[in-house]
């Protein structure tokens, strides 16, 4: 069970902005005090670089940094050595696709993805198309962004070498049937790469049970700090791919003839001084979320969503694009009102949502709207906030969106 009143006390942003209704958790999440404190403590008590020092504070920093691998591993049920820290989800996805492209793909190979993906999970694939001559095919998704398994099965054959999809899509919150998708992919010896940016911290993820080959997500969408992305790979696969970045911290030896002996995964993907404070903060965020319980978080988000959805369906002017899924995301528009005008009106009333195409710029080919408003909940949101949101949504009209300027 979620004790939301108590939980809200953990978040300085909520304490400092008691009247701000934050429904933009798909963009980023608030950070609990203990995450902020963990970061401060690194700077105040044991600032040091990692992997290098012999002195006590350096050993502390090293320990805190590497413990985060264990914490993340626990969160997603992987091994610690299967976790590498990069700059963000985008960096992790780019690393995955660069590595897979170089090692496993050749001209004519097929990559399956969907039109509901975030730019980060498509543009690196488009580069593979340009540079390696691979073919990209889109699995059909329904108007709520859910993968059509029949379409997937039809497209699947021996030439498919990679299936690259989001676990939860960022605009519509569609939760994809990963278990089935991955089983089928593996029958055909295709690799599977999962963008878990919108799933992590919202629901339990078990990479072993799902048999995921590669996965990426970012710290800041799960109560952790900005500037850290997690790259997960099954160890034999992770070991097999080449790093994008070369430099300090990732080599074991190099010689004047130009030969390099690299470190092993995961360190090989962490060239340069990493975001140590960020990684330490992420470790604390993992513990915080596990203390609350991912299952509890998911259940509570579902309750928030159902409560909000029922009230929104009673408002004639509201168009909803994702009635049926189980994520904490409601994507909607107000009839005949430009999404940004409506979002501006909500902002004027202290409600934070997102409007636009949400970095999924080909999704409009599927949902017949190139702009939507996305309200995305997290476990610190409340039913009272939804009540207030509903009252404001009811008042959005052509006239009222202009009234806010007078």
């Amino acid at each position: 069970m979620i004790d939301v009143k108590k939980i809200r006390q953990d978040f300085p942003m909520i304490i400092n902005h008691p009247d701000l209704i934050y429904f933009d958790n798909g963009a980023t999440t608030y950070k609990p005090k203990r995450v902020i404190d963990a970061i401060l403590s690194f700077y105040e008590n044991y600032t040091s670089n990692v992997e290098r020092g012999d002195y006590p504070t350096a050993i502390l920093a090293d320990k805190a940094y590497h413990q985060t691998r264990e914490k993340v591993a626990k969160l997603i049920n992987s091994e610690a050595k299967e976790i590498a820290f990069l700059a963000n989800d985008t960096a992790a996805l780019n690393q995955i696709y660069y590595g897979i492209g170089k090692k496993y793909l050749k001209e004519g190979d097929v990559i399956l993805t969907t039109k509901a993906e975030h730019a980060s999970n498509l543009l690196p694939l488009y580069r593979l198309k340009d540079e390696k001559g691979v073919e990209i095919k889109y699995i059909d998704v329904d108007i709520e962004g859910n993968i059509n398994l029949d379409s997937y099965k039809e497209l699947m054959n021996e030439s498919v070498k990679l299936v690259a999809i989001a676990m939860v899509t960022n605009v519509l919150g569609s939760i994809q049937p990963l278990k089935e998708i991955i089983q089928i992919a593996h029958k055909f010896n295709a690799l599977v790469s999962i963008d878990a940016a919108q799933a992590i911290g919202h629901q339990p993820i078990d990479v072993k049970e799902l048999d995921i080959d590669f996965m990426a997500f970012s710290s800041h969408k799960m109560c952790g700090p900005d500037g850290v992305g997690v790259l997960y790979g099954k160890y034999n696969l992770l070991e097999s791919i080449e790093p994008i970045l070369l430099g300090g911290g990732m080599n074991a030896r190099y010689y004047s003839d130009g030969s390099i002996k690299l470190k092993k995964a995961p360190e090989v993907f962490e060239a340069g001084t990493p975001n140590i404070e960020g990684v330490i903060g992420l470790g604390e965020a993992c513990e915080y979320l596990m203390d609350i319980g991912l299952e509890n978080i998911h259940e509570y988000e579902k309750e928030l969503r159902a409560y909000c959805l029922n009230k929104m369906k009673e408002i004639d002017s509201v168009i909803i694009y994702n009635e049926t899924n189980d994520s904490g995301v409601i994507t909607f528009n107000i009839k005949d009102i430009f999404a940004q005008d409506a979002a501006g009106y909500l902002a004027f009333h202290n409600i934070a949502v997102r409007s636009g195409n949400h970095c999924a710029k080909i999704l409009h080919e599927v949902i017949n709207s190139d702009q939507t408003i996305r309200a995305s909940f997290y476990f610190y949101n409340t039913f009272e906030e939804i009540d207030k949101f509903i009252e404001v949504v009811k008042n959005i009209t052509k006239e009222s969106v202009i009234d806010i300027f007078f």
């Binding site: 940004q340 501006g344 636009g356 190139d370 006239e399 969106v401 202009i402 009234d403 300027f405 007078f406």
Partner: protein, 151 residues
């Protein structure tokens, strides 16, 4: 006190002006004419995507047209901009554009020169919408700057 006609001090009228320019934008039809300069303004941070065209000859803005997908504030502000600048010399237009941007920055500005465009005088209070009120004006400003050395 301002020389501005009294009716422009009335918030109800300013609100109606925005609504009217949004629902029935003026000069809202792109032309195929080589004499026109054109700017495609696709905001990176929002969905606004408009094209503004202008025909400038002998130092005078002969015409402005625009079209695209945009919010209330973008559409209405670009529509009003076109009304305001058609027929002006480049020098006059530049002053008007500068005064308009001062208004959007929340600085002192000459409200008489802006006529109906003072409807956007409070946009500066909502930082997230300043770009909406700027998009069409940025387009014309860029095109004036492009053509000016040649004129």
């Amino acid at each position: 006190m301002s020389k501005q006609s009294d009716y422009l001090n009335d918030a109800t009228i300013l609100r109606e002006l925005i609504m009217d320019h949004y629902q029935y934008p003026h000069n809202h039809k792109l032309v195929k004419d080589d004499r026109y300069l054109s700017r495609h303004m696709a905001s990176e941070s929002c969905i606004d995507d408009i094209t503004v065209q202008t025909y400038i000859k002998d130092g005078i803005i002969k015409d402005i047209q625009f079209d695209g997908v945009a919010c209330t504030i973008s559409t209405a502000s670009t529509s009003m901009m076109s009304d305001l600048l058609i027929g002006k010399t480049l020098a006059e237009a530049k002053v008007i554009v500068e005064e308009y941007f001062k208004m959007l920055d929340g600085k002192e500005y000459d409200e008489d020169i802006l006529e109906e465009a003072i409807a956007f005088k409070n946009v500066y209070k909502q930082a997230n919408r300043i770009k909406c009120a700027s998009i069409g004006w940025n387009a014309i400003q860029e095109m004036i700057e492009e053509v000016e050395p040649k004129e």
